[in-house]
Subunit: 130 residues, 2 copies
DNA sequence: TTGACATATTCCTATATAGGAATGTATTGT
DNA sequence: ACAATACATTCCTATATAGGAATATGTCAA
């Protein structure tokens, strides 16, 4: 009766901007927690918690190196998201051409897109602090 | 101090499986609410609420047709997700080849991927009832 | 063993749902 | 005007965070 757990699946896990930032950071190479903390400017407990979520859904893997824990992004786990979004690719291509036609002036003003359109935010995905 | 609103951005909005199902359903063509209710087997108020969220983040658009409201997916709004996931494509390609090498038996057992690996669910994204 | 270093976990709290039930609102046909 | 149709909104509640603070756990060096 509430929102699904962040650990439900990759979709829920990556809904949090800091977790996406962490995934970006760990994509190139494995890193210890401390470096994530320093580089992204987050609190250490916060990073540990986010990593736990990412680990539970398989978005990262870990191995111990002495007293440090080296995390790395498991890109494979992001694939389902990529594939889901991919099914819409052909549609935004079509919509683009339609918009283009309209820009070239093909009469009727779009009495479309209803009551309150309210497109909230822009493209501020990724990163963010704290 | 809690989870970000579902209306924060597309990432949060599509974290809910039923909303993804609705987006899939409305991708091909616009549809009245009633058809979504019947086709996906959800409660009408539930569908209206989900549509409101999708509308607020710009993932769908509406127009009135008599007493019906015709919704349609705005694929363009899914593009940021596609682009974010796309940045990981090259990585899962690399990882795949690494896994392949290992399968062909290149010695050392993967003392990798830490304490409790716990990859929870499989690929049951999309759809779902209620 | 002890202390320092690196992470993880626990506790507490404000907040935002998602579902169910009930009700409100807009629009059309007669 | 009125009933019926099609949606939207409100109310209520159990649940799952995310952040901050404090503390616990694990590992290495001397």
């Amino acid at each position: 009766m509430a929102r699904a757990a962040t650990t439900s699946d990759a979709f829920n896990a990556v809904a949090e901007p800091r977790r996406r930032a962490i995934l970006n950071y760990l994509a190139m190479q494995e890193r210890p927690v401390g470096e994530i903390v320093d580089s992204l400017g987050l609190e250490q407990p916060s990073v540990s918690k986010h990593l736990r979520v990412l680990l539970e859904v398989g978005l990262v893997s870990v191995r111990r190196d002495g007293r440090r824990m080296l995390y790395r992004t498991n890109a494979e786990a992001i694939r389902p998201l990529h594939e889901w979004t991919e099914t819409f690719e052909r549609f935004w291509r079509h919509q683009l051409s339609r918009v283009k036609e309209r820009a070239e002036g093909k009469s009727n003003p779009p009495k479309d897109s209803g009551p309150n359109f309210i497109p909230r935010r822009k493209n501020d995905f990724d990163s963010n602090k704290n």
